[in-house]
Amino acid sequence: MAPYNPKAKTAIGLRLAAGRPVAAFTWPPFAEVETLPEAPVLEVRDLRTYFHTERGTARAVDGVSFSVGRGRTLAVVGESGCGKTVTALSILKLLNMPPAEIVSGQILLDGRDLVPLTPKEMQPVRGGQAAMIFQEPATSLNPVFTVGDQIGEAIRMHRRISKQDERAEVIRLLREVRMSEPERRVDQYPHELSGGMKQRAMIAMALSCNPKLIIADEPTTALDVTMQARILELLRQMRETHGTAVLLITHDLGVVAETADDVVVMYAGRVAEQADVRSLFAKPLHPYSIGLFKSLPRVDRSEERLQEIPGNVPSPTKFPSGCRFRTRCPLAVAKCSEEPPLVEVEPGHRSACWFAADLAAGREVNFTASVSSQVPKAAGLAGGAA
């Protein structure tokens, strides 16, 4: 998120591909010069994607902006239905239009706006400059072709290559994604691979054209923790060795903490909060994010009771006016029926809440109402006798 990033002020030109300043070479403070931040690989500005349905217009993505720099990972988090996937699919224009419509906004990939491009013009972008990895590797691989055929095809789409070189290239890619026995795997069919291996094959395919941007939509949700750890490690390496920018969609805050540089928290089609990963986890400044953190069971400590955010995410055809979180928010007051702007509360840390400044000053948020508070405390389940 280069434009909002306070860290952009670094010693001249001394940045690693990963975007971190090289400590050993940092010039003394007096030599520090304000440099123009590197142009982001992806910049999304005020994106609005609506679905026109029988039940009305679903404003699934409604004014979302963010950017991802070279070699950086931006995580988009939020509950089911908040618009994460629709955002990703809008970027690569993979939605059926209609019913979907990009109502407004710009999607700048390396400075070029993708919104006005025709399907034909989009083709070289997909699987060229930008690649996507989906949650269900099983459904995105074709069962009747071998892994080698499919990765090979992805390579051929973007460059001319001899049959022999193609095979060697596929094996090299499989090795790069740490697939065991790549020489054998190349001739296997998807059903012969485990979930984690299929996901690696998908990543190999995504890498085949050396993309500048990888969009990964819940890439590890269908996998075990051990396999998840490996896939995340792999994405981290890709980013460091090739400088790939990664847009990572997930609802797992552990995954975010471990892999992201910057985070966008979405709620009901809008950005609730945006910050670098450390500030967000150290001090969330939106009641929704605060609720998410409080409701998280922790593997590294025991606690008595989890807090709950009462209620459910509203349906996209029936979003409340004003702040969309107000129906579930313990801080909500009359003012919240006006829409709060996304403001920078602390450097690089933005929140769309009328009380953001109070929260920054230490105001507490307590989610007390509990769905199960109605459980009768006396013993005996509902029954004739009880």
């Binding site: 509950e79 089911s80 697939m179 065991s180 485990s194 979930g195 984690g196 291996m197 075990d224 923790v225 051990t226 998840q228 750890a229 490996r230 995340l232 609802h251 797992d252 805050l253 995954v255 903490a257 471990e258 992201a260 990963v277 450390r278 986890f281 150290a282 998410l292 953190f293 409701s295 998280l296 069971p297 922790r298 593997v299 590294d300 025991s302 606690e303 009771r305 989890l306 807090q307 709950e308 955010i309 459910n312 995410v313 509990s370 769905v371 199960s372 508070s373 109605q374 459980v375 009768p376 405390k377 006396a378 013993a379 005996g380 389940l381 509902a382 029954g383 004739g384 006798a385 009880a386």
Partner: protein
């Protein structure tokens, strides 16, 4: 609760809820092998050792967590205990009766006391049945057996009131019974499933991944609900999950499975804070912590793939992936001799199936 292959009945330990001497559930030597057939008429050539000699006990009002990678046999343990799948061997004593040996009629009588909640809140409710009919289904099958006497047939207003109260107990409005499942969110459907499981006042519930399909905030709602119901009614849970954080939160004891066998079991805090099995170490260190200041070094397992339960490795089944085995220079015992599930210290409730668990500190 305790687990050991040799003496499964040993100690029903002190607990803060009132327990009698006899645990509610005592599982001993439970095994389930599925035949692998090639072609319809072919003879069985191989077996999937889905569950292999699993033993544990569960007291009244307690929760045992069962964790492990996909395919290690967790669901099969739950299903064989409830006799939804026929066990190959073993004993499942529920309040003194062996579930696996009971005649069908007696099993039918016991069914109301043992329930299961499924992972998929979408698939487990019939889309064409109203929520009310779904929750009332147990009453239709068994009658109302909750008064302890003869089953009573519930109808009309009586049934609707009863279903309404069950729904309220899980935090849903009573009039939800007149609507259809698709009108509810995942978390709400999971609560409907819980209401149905509670209908006949069970004593024991197998929760098979009850929160895996749910979002963070909804997951907290369901976990809290399960805990409140447990406190109010003294329910016992077998909590099957690969969500190790949720399991830590809700369980008193946790058992870790690997390729059909329990490899470690201990009181919850002990297991999470002082794991002794290399596999448990690998599992725990793979979980990303929601704290960016704690990006950790991992204890990783060798080899990408979990060996299949058809060809279980010899000796300790974990040896091909075990980081401790590699570190110790591949000691012969690990690939020749099956380690016993034994206490880490004499009399300890913490049991582990590893020849070299005392060397675990070497993994750093």
């Amino acid at each position: 609760m305790s687990a050991s292959t040799s003496a499964p009945t040993s100690h029903a330990k002190k607990s803060d809820t009132a327990t009698t001497d006899m645990p509610l559930l005592n599982v001993a030597g439970l095994s389930k092998f599925f035949p692998v057939r090639r072609g319809i008429f072919a003879r069985v050539k191989q077996w999937v050792r889905a569950v292999d000699d699993v033993s544990f006990t569960l007291g009244k009002g307690e929760t045992l967590g069962l964790v492990g990678e996909s395919g290690c046999g967790k669901t099969t343990v739950g299903r064989t205990i409830l006799r939804l799948t026929r066990a190959t061997a073993g004993q499942v004593m529920f309040e003194g009766e062996d579930i696996l040996q009971l005649p069908r009629s007696r099993l039918h009588e016991l069914r109301p006391k043992m329930q299961i909640i499924f992972q998929d809140p979408y698939g487990s409710l019939n889309p064409r049945m109203t929520v009310g009919n779904a929750v009332a289904e147990p009453f239709r099958i068994h009658g109302d057996v909750t008064s302890g006497g003869e089953p009573v047939r519930l109808t009309g207003v009586q049934l609707r009131e009863r279903v309404g109260r069950l729904l309220e107990q899980v935090g849903m409005p009573a009039d939800a019974q007149y609507r259809y499942p698709h009108e509810f969110s995942g978390g709400q459907r999971q609560r409907i499933g819980i209401a149905r499981a509670l209908a006949l006042k069970p004593k024991f519930i197998v929760c098979d991944e009850p929160t895996s399909a749910l979002d963070v905030s909804v997951r907290a709602q369901v976990i809290n609900l399960l805990q409140d119901l447990q406190k109010a009614y003294g329910l016992s849970y077998l909590m099957i999950s690969h969500d190790l954080a949720a399991v830590r939160h809700i369980s008193r004891q946790v058992a870790v499975m690997y390729l059909g066998r329990i490899v470690e079991q201990a009181p919850t805090t002990e297991l999470y804070d002082r794991p002794r099995h290399p596999y448990t170490r690998v599992l725990l260190s793979a979980i990303p912590l929601p704290d960016p200041t704690k990006r950790r070094a991992r204890v990783t397992a060798a080899d990408d793939e979990i060996p299949s339960p058809i060809n279980v490795p010899t000796g300790c089944a974990f040896h091909p992936r075990c980081p401790l085995y590699a570190l110790l220079g591949k000691p012969e015992r690990c690939h020749t001799e099956l380690p016993a599930l034994s206490p880490v210290a004499p009399g300890s409730q913490h049991v582990v199936r590893c020849h070299y668990h005392e060397e675990i500190g070497k993994l750093g």
